[in-house]
């Protein structure tokens, strides 16, 4: 749970920084579309996310609609990377 909270926060902070969005609009269940992110902004955001969190997102398409979907994906990857490291 702790890990989920921290990646969510990082994602929110990055969205504030990258797109000038406001924290109060960034509820976990807010859809990216409702925040004004189109498919290209999402691609750009995920690219920056890889840099920021030193992760590698999967090549295959993953259904992402909300901020929480992004956080869940990140956490899954982080957990997977830790597993591999161990």
């Amino acid at each position: 749970m702790q890990a989920i909270m921290s990646s969510l926060q990082t994602i929110q902070n990055m969205m504030i920084q990258q797109f000038d969005l406001k924290l109060e609009d960034l509820a976990p269940d807010a859809t990216l579309e409702s925040l004004g992110l189109d498919s290209l902004s999402v691609i750009e955001f995920m690219f920056n996310l890889e840099d920021e969190l030193k992760i590698k997102l999967p090549e295959e398409r993953v259904e992402i609609k909300t901020i929480m979907d992004v956080a869940n994906l990140v956490d899954k990857i982080v957990a997977g990377q830790k597993g591999t490291a161990q």
Partner: protein, 424 residues
């Protein structure tokens, strides 16, 4: 009812095209008004560049658009996918649309389009990508690289923003790109494919790789040791080449009848456009090819050489270019050549490459509107081989002008000439 033959003739002649809006983002002004005031005042936008790579260049001058803060015009989210050259174009387009008070209905948007010119598109984005790949050995670059860089990005963003759904075409003919774009947009209206067009060009290539490439070609001006702003000296004996600049210019062109009907303010009629290819050398200019473009433009405008009261020269300040253009003007204008004011405003705004033709055509249109001719600055040592009236150092006001011309002659030999005349 006109007969079949009359209708065919009128179609052949085409419709009249007028200029109803102007937009400029340049090294000497970010509005058409500031741009023209600075031209008349002889102010130069050329300076030593303050960039992190500048020490690696031998030629360290350029004509940048200073104090251009993208955040003043775009949200951070928009900037994710809008490159500097597209930003310039969108700002210039917005100005032109406001200036023309253009408010197109949904139906009219279907017959409104865009022609733009650019040499290098989003060159800065490509360079960033190369740095990542080749210097940092990254395995990945920004995912939007293709979309930021593509030459037609500027025109496409303009189309999307203003819902213009007619032709959307980007021309790349080096230094004449945006003159060609304006001319081809004029033809779209003249021949009935569109009723309203945004036309111009955009360039943002004051970046290390592009500047080094130009430096390597040995066509750039040496920095004037006393005053960097005086480094570009078209038609002068001591000229040493061109100075790279950046920016954008956009004109609103309309079918004249439409413009009159909606009560638009009309700057001028875009009366003629002529182009030609030198078909002789990839860089060496050719007076005969240039003269052909000038004649074609005059013919298209239905004007005689004596009707032209001012020529905005291509005037790059290269050794060969200025002499060849002088010869071309003499070939067409004959004995009258010496009495026609010809100025190179590149001496002030630099060479905006894919934007330069449109920027300079706007200078000529504003000259017509204000009865004022901008000077060629830094012309203190005449070259005997350049012996026309280049309006040296001091602009002229109160000059009655009925028609003006703007020359654009490109590497590769693509020549384009535009003629504007008072609308009546």
């Amino acid at each position: 009812m006109p007969g079949k033959k009359a209708r065919r003739n009128s179609l052949c002649m085409g419709r009249r095209v007028v200029i109803t809006g102007l937009g400029v983002v340049s090294p000497i002004g970010k509005t058409p008004g500031d741009f023209f005031s600075n031209l008349m005042a002889g102010h130069s936008g050329i300076k030593r560049l303050q960039t992190d790579f500048i020490e690696k260049l031998s030629i360290r001058i350029g004509a940048p658009v200073d104090n251009f803060n993208p955040g003043d015009y775009f949200s951070k989210m928009q900037l994710t996918s809008i490159e500097r050259f597209s930003q310039f174009a969108l700002v210039a387009a917005e100005q032109a649309i406001q200036d023309a008070q253009l408010a197109l209905s949904e139906t009219e948007q279907l017959r409104a389009g865009i022609c733009m010119g650019s040499c290098m598109g989003g060159a800065g984005t490509i360079e960033e990508g190369y740095v990542e790949l080749f210097r940092h050995d990254s395995s990945r670059i920004k995912p939007l690289t293709v979309l930021l860089n593509m030459n037609n990005a500027a025109a496409s963003h303009m189309s999307i923003k203003h819902h213009l759904q007619g032709p959307n075409i980007t021309y790349a003919t080096a230094c004449s790109s945006s003159a060609i774009a304006v001319g081809e947009a004029y033809r779209q209206i003249k021949h009935g494919y569109a009723d309203t067009m945004l036309a111009g060009g955009s360039e943002a290539m004051l970046i290390y790789g592009a500047m080094k490439a130009w430096e390597s070609l040995h066509t750039l001006a040496q920095e004037d040791t006393n005053d960097a702003g005086a480094s570009c000296k078209p038609f002068a004996k001591n000229r040493s080449g061109l100075v790279l600049g950046e920016g954008a210019a956009v004109l609103v062109l309309e079918d004249a009848e439409r413009a009159i009907k909606r009560g638009a303010r009309i700057y001028a009629e875009l009366a003629g456009y002529g182009c030609s290819s030198d078909a002789s050398h990839i860089t060496k200019p050719n007076a005969t090819g240039q003269a052909r473009a000038i004649r074609n433009a005059l013919h298209d405008a239905g004007l005689q050489p004596q009707d032209i009261g001012y020529i905005n020269a291509h005037g790059t300040a290269t050794l060969a270019g200025d002499i060849e253009e002088t010869k071309a003007i003499k070939q067409v204008f004959g004995a009258q050549a010496a009495s026609i004011p010809v100025s190179s405003t590149k001496s002030m705004h630099g060479h905006l490459m894919g934007a330069t033709g449109a920027v300079e055509f706007i200078a000529a249109v504003l000259a017509l509107q204000h009865s004022a001719i901008p000077p060629t600055i830094n012309l203190h040592e005449p070259d005997p081989e350049c012996d026309l009236d280049y309006v040296p150092n001091q602009g002229r006001t109160g000059v009655k002008l009925n028609a003006v011309m703007s020359n654009s002659f490109a590497f590769g030999g693509s020549n384009a000439v535009l003629v504007a005349k008072r609308f009546s």
